[in-house]
């Protein structure tokens, strides 16, 4: 409940402030958002598994974001191209789907 409130609060603040993403952050934000989403779904699943730990959640959230940003940075620096980002998004997407599947099994037994 609290995280949901936090999420809606963030969305509302974002809508009100109309933030402009600074240029240096522009390449990193999309991947970081996906990584953070992965962390959030993982946290929900951990809660349902009964193994949630706030410290782990915070660390994994931040490390996900940082690693995602680092990969993008690496991509830009090495000139690998968009493929690396695509790979990250695919991996995170797979994780999000598997987490959602676990959550679904917990909540709906299906």
């Amino acid at each position: 409940m609290i995280p949901a409130i936090g999420l809606s609060l963030g969305i509302i603040i974002g809508l009100l402030l109309q933030p402009a993403v600074p240029v240096w952050l522009q390449p990193y934000l999309p991947i970081a958002v996906i990584a953070a989403l992965d962390a959030v779904f993982g946290a929900v699943r951990a809660i349902l598994d009964g193994i949630f730990d706030d410290k782990v959640f915070v660390i994994s959230f931040l490390s996900n974001v940082i690693v995602a940003a680092f990969i993008v940075f690496l991509r830009d620096t090495l000139g690998v191209g968009a493929q690396l980002s695509t790979g990250v998004v695919v991996v995170l997407g797979v994780r999000i789907f598997s987490n959602v599947a676990a959550i679904r099994r917990h909540l709906f037994d299906a």
Partner: protein, 293 residues
């Protein structure tokens, strides 16, 4: 439900009573896994607790219920940051221009712009052509109008429908005995025309192509209008030629003098021929259309 009672502010001030967030779940007989597999990095569906969906919902609600634990505060802050970031990114994406497009998309857009440019250039050319066409047409029209106006003026002077002014002479024929007859006046007019008179009037009557003269008791009839002596004949043309034509031996002056009258020729820089005729359209004569070159 099995949560150990806490002071509301305890989580904030005391940083480390071990894995606090996990403690309540010990009820379910679960040991926290090692840190890497807990939390976000939930392991691939391990042998999870075989609890019913009802209990799962319950646990989710409990975890989400408002408690001032550090977990909740952190979760709220992080979730808020996530929401903010999502909105910022969505907005950024909607604002985004060309810089994030792939090469083939850029090529496609470029080709489209190129095509648009060519099409617009074609349109510009077409419009310029028609503009020039219309311009030349309008100048042609203005030219034709000017020519027609000049022609109208010239014909108006010839036909006596417009007033005329210019250098010429004023010939006054005094005729105390009323001896100057219509043929004499007609001769005078012919003499003036021979000398190049372009517009002539006698007293108040304009002399044009179809003007006729007749004798009356007290003077002359010019195209049916009574004119009495002295006859003041105004003629526009080369003044010296006109004056000379009046003076030739056996000419107008001589004839008038012979019958007892007298003439007086005044050369003037500005003679006004302002008597007007009403144009009449011919009753029988019809113009024969001339083939246009």
């Amino acid at each position: 439900m099995t949560e150990t009672p806490r002071e509301p502010d305890e989580p904030v001030q005391s940083p480390a009573p071990a894995p606090r967030g996990v403690e309540p779940f010990l009820f379910d007989g679960l040991r926290p896994r090692d840190d890497d597999s807990a939390g976000a990095d939930g392991a691939a569906s391990g042998p999870g607790p075989a609890d019913s969906p009802q209990r799962a919902w319950h646990r989710l609600l409990r975890a989400g219920s408002p408690r001032a634990t550090r977990a909740n505060v952190l979760a709220m802050v992080l979730a808020g940051a996530l929401g903010f970031a999502i909105i910022a990114q969505v907005r950024q994406t909607s604002l985004e221009g060309l810089e994030n497009l792939r090469e083939d998309e850029l090529v496609r857009i470029f080709a489209g712009v190129d095509q648009d440019g060519e099409r617009l250039a074609d349109e510009i050319r077409g419009l310029q052509t028609s503009l020039e066409l219309l311009k030349s047409q309008s100048t042609n029209e203005a030219e034709a109008q000017r020519a027609a106006r000049e022609r109208l003026e010239a014909l108006g002077i010839l036909a006596g429908t417009v007033a005329a002014a210019g250098p010429g002479i004023v010939l006054t024929v005094s005729d105390p005995d009323n001896k100057v007859d219509a043929p004499t006046i007609l001769d005078t007019v012919q003499e003036l025309r021979d000398a190049g008179a372009e517009a002539i009037q006698i007293n108040g009557e304009r002399v044009a192509a179809d003007t006729w003269f007749a004798d009356t008791e007290n003077g002359l009839s010019v195209s049916g209008s009574e004119v009495r002596p002295p006859y003041v004949i105004k003629a526009i043309g080369d003044a010296n030629t006109l004056a000379g034509a009046m003076e030739i031996p056996g000419g107008v002056t001589a004839t008038v003098r012979r019958v007892g009258g007298d003439t007086d020729v005044q050369i003037e820089d500005e003679v006004k021929v302002d008597a007007l005729l009403t144009p009449t359209s011919p009753q029988y004569a019809r113009p024969v259309p001339t083939p246009t070159p």
